[in-house]
C-alpha cells in the first residue's frame, strides 16, 4: 500500500538530482505509469489497512485516487510533448514538484487520520505553488503568491478546525483520537458545540482549497497563469482531494448529530458557487479564466450533491469522476490553443478548429460535456443530482440548479464557440506548436473515457458510488 506513496518521492529525488533537461520528463512518465499500475493492483486485490489504520482504502478514497492517477498519467504523457517544446525553461522544479504532489495526493486519498490528512493537503499546496510560476513572468508570480497565501491561510484555519474536532473527542468517554473510524464510532459522545465549530473552520479551510465561493479568489488567477497541465491536475485532482476531505468531515459531523447544520451549509455554499460562476462566466474574454470559473461551478455542484445526500450524494461522486476527467480534456486542449495562438484572449484567438484539427474540436466537445450535454458522463451525473433534489422534495434548489446550468451553458458557449469557430488570424505562427500525438493524444483519450462513462457505467463502479454515498447518508 505504501508503494504509490514512496515511489513518486524517490523519483522526485532522482528528478531533482538529474542534470539534463531531457532526462527528467521520462522520470515523470515512469512515476505516473507505475503509480497507475499500483492503483490498478488496489482494484484487483484490496489492500489491508496500514500504520494502525491511519492509511486505508475506502470507497470515496478509491474513487478519488483512481481519477487522480488516471488524470496524472494523461498529463504525464502530455508533458513529454509539452516540456520538449518548453526546453528553454528549467524543468527541474516542475518535474520534481509534480512527483512530490503525486505522492502527497496519494496520502490524502488513503488517509483516515485527520491530522495526517491535513499535513498531506498542505504539502499539495506547497508543491504546486512554485509550478504556477513556471512561466517566470510578473503575472504568473502574482498568481503564485495569491495561491500560496490564500491557500496557506485557509489551510491554517483547517488546522484549527482539526484541533477543535480533536478537542470534541477529548471529553470523558471520548475516543481521544483523530481517526475517522474512532470519531464516527464515538458519534454522540463527541462534544456537539465543538463539532459544529470544527465543521465551520474545516469548511472554510478545505473549502478554500477546493475553491468554493466566496473562498475561490485564488482560482481564476492560478488557473489562468499556470501551464494547462497544472490547471488540469489542480482542477481535476487536487480540488477533488479537498472534496474528499470535506466528505470525511461531513461523515464525522453526521455521526455526531451535526449533520443537518453541515448539510445546509454545504448546499448554501454550493448554490453560491454556481451563482457566482454564472455571473463571471458570461462575457469572460480569457478562456483559461473561464475554465477556472467552470471549476468553481463544479465544486459547487459537488458540495450541493453531498449536502443534499442520498441519491444526490451518489450522483456527486459520479460527478467528481466525470468532472475530473473532463477538466483534463478542457485544460490540456486550452493549453494547446494558448500555445498555438500565443494568447488566451477571445479577441485574438479565433478558428482554433482550423489551426488545431484535434485540440480545437476537443475543446468544443469538452465544453459540451462539462455543461451537461448528453451523451457525456457529466450529463448523467448532474441528472442524478437533480433527481436527488426533486425526489427529496427540494424543488427550489433543483430549480435554481437548472437555472444556473442554463446561464452557464450560454455564457461559456459564447466564449468557446468564439475560440473554436471562424478563421484563424493571418499572423505567422509556428506549426511546431500545432497538434502532435503527444499533446493531442492525452486529451483525446480522456475525452473517450468521458464518452464511455456516459454510455456505460460498469456495475462495480456504480456500486462504489453508492457505497461512498452511504457513508455520509442523508
Amino acid at each position: 500500500m505504501l508503494f504509490p506513496v514512496a515511489l513518486p518521492l524517490i523519483l522526485a529525488a532522482i528528478a531533482f538530482a538529474l542534470p539534463g533537461q531531457r532526462q527528467r520528463p521520462p522520470v515523470l512518465l515512469a512515476g505516473a505509469a507505475l503509480h497507475s499500475l499500483g492503483v490498478l493492483l488496489f482494484w484487483l486485490r484490496p489492500p489491508a489497512p496500514q500504520l494502525d489504520g491511519w492509511l486505508a482504502l475506502d470507497a470515496p478514497g478509491k474513487l478519488v485516487l483512481t481519477v487522480t492517477s488516471l488524470l496524472f498519467l494523461a498529463c504525464a504523457v502530455y508533458s513529454q510533448g509539452y516540456l520538449e517544446r518548453r526546453i528553454d525553461r528549467d524543468n527541474r522544479v516542475f518535474v520534481g514538484g509534480l512527483l512530490v504532489l503525486l505522492s502527497a495526493m496519494t496520502v490524502v486519498a488513503l488517509s483516515q487520520h485527520l491530522g495526517l490528512l491535513w499535513v498531506a493537503i498542505e504539502i499539495t499546496t506547497l508543491s504546486t505553488a512554485p509550478l504556477i510560476y513556471f512561466n517566470h513572468n510578473a503575472l504568473s508570480l502574482e498568481a503564485a503568491w495569491k495561491y500560496l497565501l490564500v491557500c496557506s491561510l485557509g489551510i491554517a484555519l483547517a488546522l484549527l478546525g482539526t484541533f477543535f474536532l480533536a478537542l470534541s473527542s477529548a471529553g470523558p468517554g471520548g475516543p481521544h483520537s483523530l481517526l475517522v473510524s474512532d470519531l464516527v464510532a464515538a458519534g454522540p459522545m463527541l462534544s456537539r458545540p465543538w463539532v459544529r465549530a470544527a465543521f465551520v473552520f474545516l469548511l472554510v479551510g478545505y473549502g478554500t482549497k477546493m475553491g468554493l465561493a466566496p473562498l475561490h479568489s485564488w482560482k481564476p488567477d492560478a488557473y489562468g497563469e499556470a501551464p494547462g497541465i497544472l490547471g488540469a491536475i489542480l482542477s481535476g485532482g487536487v480540488t477533488s482531494l479537498a472534496f474528499l476531505a470535506l466528505v470525511r468531515i461531513l461523515h464525522v459531523s453526521s455521526a455526531a448529530g451535526e449533520g443537518h447544520f453541515a448539510r445546509e451549509s454545504l448546499v448554501a455554499m454550493g448554490l453560491l458557487s454556481m451563482a457566482l460562476a454564472a455571473v463571471f462566466m458570461v462575457g469572460q474574454r480569457d478562456f483559461k479564466r473561464m475554465l477556472a470559473y467552470s471549476s468553481v461551478e463544479h465544486m459547487g455542484i459537488l458540495a450541493l450533491g453531498i449536502g443534499l445526500g442520498g441519491l444526490a450524494a451518489s450522483g456527486a461522486f459520479f460527478h467528481m469522476v466525470a468532472n475530473g476527467l473532463t477538466k483534463g480534456v478542457l485544460f490540456l486542449a486550452a493549453g494547446n490553443i494558448h500555445r498555438a495562438f500565443g494568447s488566451k484572449l477571445t479577441d485574438q484567438v479565433k478558428g482554433a478548429a482550423v489551426r488545431l484539427p484535434i485540440s480545437g474540436p476537443l475543446f468544443l466537445a469538452g465544453f459540451l460535456a462539462i455543461t451537461g450535454s448528453p451523451p457525456f458522463a457529466p450529463f448523467f451525473s448532474e441528472l442524478a443530482i437533480l433527481n436527488g433534489a426533486f425526489l427529496g422534495g427540494h424543488t427550489v434548489i433543483g430549480g435554481l440548479f437548472l437555472a444556473f446550468l442554463a446561464v452557464i451553458f450560454v455564457g461559456m458557449g459564447t466564449t468557446v464557440l468564439g475560440v473554436v469557430q471562424g478563421e484563424p488570424p493571418d499572423a505567422e505562427w509556428n506549426p511546431g506548436n500545432g497538434d502532435s500525438p503527444l499533446t493531442a493524444g492525452p486529451p483525446l483519450a480522456l475525452m473517450a473515457a468521458v464518452l464511455v462513462l456516459g454510455l456505460w457505467v460498469p456495475r462495480g463502479l456504480m456500486a462504489l458510488f453508492d457505497s461512498a454515498a452511504s457513508l455520509i447518508g442523508g
Binding site: 491530522g115 499535513v119 495569491k146 488546522l159 477529548a170 471529553g171
Partner: protein, 215 residues
C-alpha cells in the same frame, strides 16, 4: 506557577498588539520571534504529571527551533536582501488595526465562555489567547501591503493555532505535530522564495503591484 502561566498568555497577546501597531518590519520580526519562543514554553509549563516527558520536550524544542529561531532568521534575511528598512505600509491604519485587534480579543473571550472545554479546562486564558492571536494574524494578512508583513501575519495566525494545539498535547501523535511544524517551515521557505522573485521582478516587495489579475 499559575501566575507565570498567566504572564505567558498575556505576553503573547501583548505581542499581537505590538505587531499590529508596529511600523518597522525589523521590530515586528523580532516580536514574532519572541512570541514563537514564548510559545515553546507553553508545553513545558502546562505539562501535567501524566504527560509523556520526551513528547513534551520534543514539542518545546521543535517549536523553539522552528518558530523562535529558523523562521525569524529567514524573514530577517529576506528583509535584508530586499533592502527594506522600515514601513509596514498598512492598508488599514495602525489605530484602526488596534481597535479591530481589541474587538477580536473581546470576541475571543465571548466565544471561549460560550464553549466550555470538554476536558475540564487546562487554563482559562488559553482559548481566548489562541483565538485572538488567530484573529490578529488574519487581520495582518489582509491589511498590510508588504509581502514580508503578510507572511508575519501568517506566522502569527499559526502561532495562535499552536496555542490551541498545546491543549491536545496529551493525545496528538508526535508524527502529526512534527508534520505540522515541518509544513510551517516549508511554507515560509516557499514564501521566501516567491518573495525573492517578487523583489527581483518588481524591485519591491509591495504586493500592491500584484494587482494586474482581476475580472
Amino acid at each position: 506557577m499559575a501566575r507565570w502561566t498567566d504572564m505567558v498568555f498575556v505576553l503573547v497577546v501583548v505581542l499581537d498588539f505590538f505587531v499590529l501597531a508596529s511600523s518597522r518590519l525589523q521590530a515586528a520580526i523580532r516580536a514574532v520571534a519572541a512570541q514563537g519562543a514564548l510559545l515553546a514554553l507553553l508545553p513545558l509549563i502546562l505539562a501535567t504529571g501524566e504527560s509523556d516527558v520526551t513528547h513534551v520536550a520534543l514539542l518545546a524544542v521543535g517549536a523553539l527551533l522552528v518558530k523562535g529561531v529558523a523562521i525569524p532568521w529567514m524573514m530577517a534575511w529576506a528583509t535584508r536582501e530586499a533592502a527594506i528598512r522600515r514601513e509596514v505600509e498598512p492598508i488599514v491604519g495602525f489605530v484602526p488595526s488596534l481597535v479591530l485587534g481589541a474587538a477580536g480579543v473581546a470576541l475571543a473571550f465571548a466565544f471561549a465562555s460560550e464553549l466550555p472545554l470538554p476536558t475540564g479546562g487546562k487554563h482559562m486564558l488559553l482559548v481566548p489567547t489562541s483565538l485572538s492571536t488567530v484573529w490578529t494574524g488574519l487581520l495582518l494578512v489582509v491589511s498590510r501591503r508588504k509581502a514580508v508583513a503578510q507572511v508575519l501575519g501568517f506566522l502569527i495566525l499559526e502561532n495562535g493555532v499552536f496555542v490551541f494545539g498545546v491543549l491536545l498535547g496529551d493525545f496528538m501523535p508526535v508524527m502529526v505535530e512534527a508534520g505540522v511544524l515541518l509544513d510551517l517551515f516549508a511554507a515560509v521557505f516557499v514564501m521566501g522564495i516567491v518573495m525573492f522573485h517578487i523583489n527581483r521582478e518588481f524591485s519591491s516587495l509591495d504586493t500592491g503591484k500584484l494587482s494586474a489579475l482581476k475580472d
